[in-house]
Amino acid sequence: MAGETTAGNATPGNATPGSAGLTREDAAYVARLARIDLTDDELGLYAVQLATVIGHAAELAALDTDGVEPTAHPLPLRNVTRADEPRPSLDRAEVLAQAPAVEDGRFRVPPILGEAP
């Protein structure tokens, strides 16, 4: 399967454990999901390097895990609440002072839906 996976394969139902091949198009699709602009050189490099690591992860597929509960966390977690008492929060001016762009006491960002600001 190596080299045959395409970006279109990264959809439900097409996972093939053990097929560690990754194309440049796969890498580009993942980079888009991760919101990182990668250069062509980076895409080529990461396609190869990710395939190596995923190849090791694919070894896990051979293990019998039928009936084994997945562990998401080492502690038996449950909701923790504290007393509902008013107390100071972070200072707004101090927080906004860290932001790259601010307007009217809020974070300023470029257009999200493409319309003019």
Partner: protein, 498 residues
């Protein structure tokens, strides 16, 4: 005394001196001023750190102010606490209010946290003086500190070699005598592995015993903050200071952190120690030899040592390198150029996010985010992420079975001694193999400690690892103290405070 070229045969064992505890004793007694102590350490940093590059930020002014405040307390007849006047170095992924916290990343350029990490507050309450922020692999992702945007830290025992990572700056600072105490964070071995490579003590606490409030998140189900020190006693003292429940971290255990200092002198008579095949077999010959010598020290002290194979541990590394990047890809989505740090302007929000992250993250962080995003993407989630979570369960269960027979487990901390700068940067999997002995404790949430134990034939330090079940820090420290007393004395590093 072990000298370079020596095989690391046991020298004169004995109690190691604990610089931090000597400082605290003298400052509390009023026989030494905290101001003098901090000047001595700042002078050492200024003299040596140009070559070592353990620090990202040195806090000359605030350290002097904090030391003066400690001296005023002593003069007023108050007790500043168990770490009175002790300089401490903080890994630069721990938030310090008003002081840049970089994670050795360009994406946090200019960021000064508006709040303090809980561990930093607890250190100050115990009388400690923060002298600086130390270098790390960007966002704690790496095993050599070469992934820092500010350049690598060097190993004090050989400047051509890495200090390990990701807490390489903290380990190098303690080894070189630039700080008597340091804090690191350990997600897959990032405290223990650099401690082993630099010849100091590094300890990862039980998950949930130390608040992670103010620790910049990497992989939240694995991260823990812990001490890097010269001696096991200092490690226990520092753990007792930073541990305990915190309302700001909902993953903190309700029960108080185990008190460990009192266990240090108990010895190992009658304790059952499992020497783990999988934590020794793949190691270099010299490293394996030191682990067997440490086992001999424990036997001589009255422990019953038996070999045990835990085959499931072989799956730890591949499981870890699915789970940790998956959690990281989620945690690091917050760096989007909106609220703090770097922004690269672009026409739309999405283009701005992607351009900012491209410019702000280094190669290893991009690699891990890509890996985690892939493992979590539709169609691959079950094959990789779910399966890795189930393998995590298998590892936890296998360790549980082992702990029915043994009080603690023993192995190498890392398979090799310090490797050359640049040796593994182009081959991620070979770098990841540095973590093969340390990741099981993170997956299980268990405590583990690396203790320096002699050296290889080049004089490079070797670390021996003691692992224990959750909340069994007291017995872990008990065993570690005996290993330390029987360890060959390591030659001082070539780069160190005068």
């Amino acid at each position: 005394m072990t000298t370079p070229g020596d095989s690391g045969a046991p020298g004169t064992p004995g109690d190691r001196s604990s610089p931090a505890l000597e400082i605290a004793r003298d400052v509390r007694a009023g026989s030494v001023s905290a101001r003098d102590v901090v000047e001595r350490y700042l002078g050492a940093v200024d003299a040596v750190d140009g070559e070592l590059h353990a620090f990202v930020t040195v806090l000359h002014d605030s350290a002097r102010r904090e030391a003066a405040a400690v001296d005023r307390q002593v003069a007023a007849g108050e007790d500043p606490g168990p770490l009175a006047g002790v300089p401490v170095a903080l890994k630069d992924n721990l938030c310090t209010r008003g002081v840049p916290t970089t994670c050795s990343s360009r994406i946090l350029d200019g960021w000064c946290p508006p709040y303090e990490a809980t561990v930093v507050e607890r250190l100050r309450r115990a009388g400690a003086v923060v002298i600086g922020k130390t270098n790390l692999d960007e966002f704690a992702m790496g095993s050599s500190t070469e992934n820092s945007a500010f350049g690598p830290t060097r190993n004090p025992h050989d400047p051509a070699r890495v200090p390990g990572g990701s807490s390489g700056g903290s380990a190098a600072a303690v080894a070189a005598g630039l700080a008597p105490l340091a804090l690191g964070s350990d997600t897959g071995g990032s405290i223990r592995q650099p401690a082993a490579l630099c010849g100091v003590v590094g300890m990862k606490p039980t998950y949930g015993t130390v608040s992670r409030y103010g620790l910049v998140a990497f992989a939240s189900s694995l991260d823990q903050i812990g001490p890097i020190t010269t001696t096991v006693t200092e490690s226990a003292v520092l753990f007792d200071v930073i541990g305990g429940q915190d309302p700001c971290d909902s993953t903190c255990l309700e029960r108080p952190a185990p008190r460990t200092v009192s266990a240090l002198a108990d010895g190992v008579e009658g304790l059952r120690v499992g020497l783990v095949t999988e934590l020794v077999d793949g190691a270099d010959q010299a490293v394996a030899a030191r682990v067997h010598e440490a086992a001999g020290v424990l036997e001589a002290g009255g422990a019953r040592v038996e070999e045990i194979s835990i085959p499931e541990l072989r799956h730890g590394l591949p499981a870890y390198y699915v789970l940790a990047p998956a959690e990281a890809s989620s945690n690091l989505s917050r760096y989007d150029g909106v609220r703090y740090g770097l922004r690269v302007e672009a026409g739309t929000a999405e283009a701005m996010n992607a351009a900012t992250r491209a410019a702000g993250f280094g190669p290893e962080v991009k690699r891990r985010i890509m890996l985690g995003t892939y493992a979590l993407s539709a169609g691959y989630y079950d094959a990789y992420y779910s399966q890795a979570q189930k393998v995590r369960t298998l590892i936890i269960d296998a360790l549980g079975v082992a702990y029915q027979r043994f009080d603690v487990l023993l192995g190498a901390t890392t398979p090799t001694t310090a490797f050359a700068l640049g040796a593994k940067v182009d081959d991620p999997w070979s770098m990841y193999l540095s973590d093969v002995c340390t990741v099981p404790s993170n997956l299980a949430g268990h405590p583990a400690i690396s203790i320096p134990f002699g050296s290889d034939d080049k004089g490079l330090p070797v670390g021996v690892q003691v692992l224990a079940p959750s909340l069994c820090e007291p017995v872990m420290f008990q065993v570690a103290a005996v290993v330390e007393r029987g360890a060959p004395v390591l030659a001082p590093p070539g780069i160190r405070a005068a």
